[in-house]
Amino acid sequence: MSLSRIILYVVVGLILVWLMVPVLIIVPMSFSGARFLAFPPPSWSLRWYEAYLESAAWMQATRVSLILAVSSAIIATVLGTAAAYALNLSTSRLVRSLQVVLLLPLVVPIVITAVGVFLVYANVGLLATMSGLILANVMLGLPFVIISVLTGLRKFDPAQEMVSRSLGMNRLRTFFIVTLPQIRPSVISGLLFAFISALDETVVAIFISGGEYQTLTKRMFTALRDEIDPTIAAISTLLTAISFLMVILVSLSARTAPRKNADA
């Protein structure tokens, strides 16, 4: 191996370490016995996890975030899969431009989206409500589902649908029996991506959530502005564990070969 290769590998190794360290550093921090965040922690304890579990406010915020993430991910997946199917079906120019519209939530700076949603909600009375939060996160999750499902559909041979329909099955049944099982991995990764996006979403929640319906991230953000409380390290560790779990699930769902027949 040439010297330049070795240098390249060392540099890349260092950058990867730099990428992972901040993600992993919060884990030992969360088990610290001290109030201040020294590294390595002077002693070990579970007190910050206890503080988190015993706090009614943190528990309520966790409930809100979980309900929000699950329900908005499911809704975004249903709407987004339908939209991706339609986008893949049509070749018209109008539909192409509609695709750009549906991807907009990903490119509009999040503060502007937050301000916009706030404006709408202030007028229709959806501020600080669960349904308001869910609806906003459905919008933010849609692009992830659409991109993921479109990628799956492009690999799918539409001739199979035509065969199924020529054999007398209607369009809806064809979709659920022939198409869906084959694009399932991309639907699942879209769902998981929408889930994690809703769970981690912070800026829109800062603007529109409040009172009883504050999300976990909004509470964390507010707490971080005031002081670096180790309870946040405990919550961060839990959030990171969920993220890692999602990555593992996505890679597993991509690996399992789609079943040929859903009737089995």
């Binding site: 503060v111 919008m139 990628t151």
Partner: protein, 290 residues
């Protein structure tokens, strides 16, 4: 290819179109009500004051120093972050694309895991690492490299470090996708024809990887322009980015006209960058939808 293209029947085609619109309708309704309508509303608000038309909110960009210094600082940070992510991301993607399957999965996992971790959590982690008595400062002091702790956070430096960290995957993933498609035969052919590794890289590999570089740069640049959490948490009140200017005008001053005009200008900058980039590479490809 759509299934309908083999069926020329007009009635069938019309039915197909109806189905397409029906399936798109719910998603379009959500994005329309929560994004398109409010954006139009912001445009309207930005030219209104006390019930009359005005350009006063835009005039402030020329008269109020805070406006243009904030935009300047935001663009400067966006340039620095974009350059840094290219420099750090290119070698990662290059090694991952050339490595064996097992190694490339390992390298990509190291990129994707942080990518899926909450932005807020990562900003918090950097706060811990970079603070006065944080890990970085204590390591440097222990090794005798510095006498007094460095000011790594509560300034632009801390903001840039965390932003680069958060956005690096957005650079690596499109780069890797592009590099992976470059046939190995091409670089082998270049080498067998007598090109030095450096020559082959700059004349064969690098030009072919440029679409990925452009896609990554556009994404990173545009996302940095709209960043809010990292400057807010790591900027220490001294790093003022456009997003903060928008939120301050609403939260603190209740100045909707000002917030609207700043939003519209920021949005125009974002669209301009995409427009310029689309001359080189289509929008859907940047977003990974193609």
């Amino acid at each position: 290819m759509s299934a309908s293209s083999t069926d020329p029947s007009l009635a069938h085609k019309r039915g197909e179109q109806r189905l397409v619109l029906l399936l798109l309708a719910p998603s379009l309704a959500v994005v329309g009500c929560l994004l398109i309508v409010p954006l139009c509303w912001l445009v309207w608000q930005s030219v209104r004051q006390d019930g009359a038309f005005t350009l006063a909110h835009y005039a402030r960009f020329f008269s109020d120093a805070v406006y243009w210094t904030t935009f300047l600082q935001t663009f400067r940070i966006a340039f620095i972050v974009t350059a840094a992510t290219v420099l750090l991301g290119y070698p990662i993607a290059y090694v991952a694309a050339g490595a064996s399957r097992r190694w490339s999965i390992f390298i990509l996992a190291m990129v994707i895991l942080p990518f899926w971790t909450s932005v807020l959590v990562r900003a918090y982690a950097w706060l811990i690492l970079l603070q006065r008595r944080g890990l970085v400062n204590s390591v440097l002091t222990d090794f005798g490299l510095i006498q007094n702790p460095l000011a790594l956070v509560n300034n632009e430096l801390g903001t840039v470090i965390a932003t680069v960290h958060i956005l690096l995957p957005f650079m690596v993933l499109p780069l890797y996708a592009t590099m992976q498609k470059i046939p190995a035969e091409l670089t082998m052919a270049g080498a067998s024809l007598g090109g030095t590794p450096f020559y082959v890289f700059t004349r064969v590999f690098l030009p072919l990887s440029l679409p990925g570089v452009v896609a990554g740069m556009v994404l990173v640049f545009v996302l940095t322009l709209g960043f809010y959490i990292t400057p807010e948490l790591l900027g220490g009140g001294r790093t003022y980015m456009v997003s903060m200017l928008v939120s301050r005008n609403i939260e603190v001053y209740n100045e909707w006209g000002a917030a609207s005009s700043i939003s519209i200008v920021l949005l125009a900058c974002v669209f301009l960058v995409f427009r310029l980039a689309s001359l080189i590479i289509p929008f859907e490809r940047i977003m990974g939808a193609r």
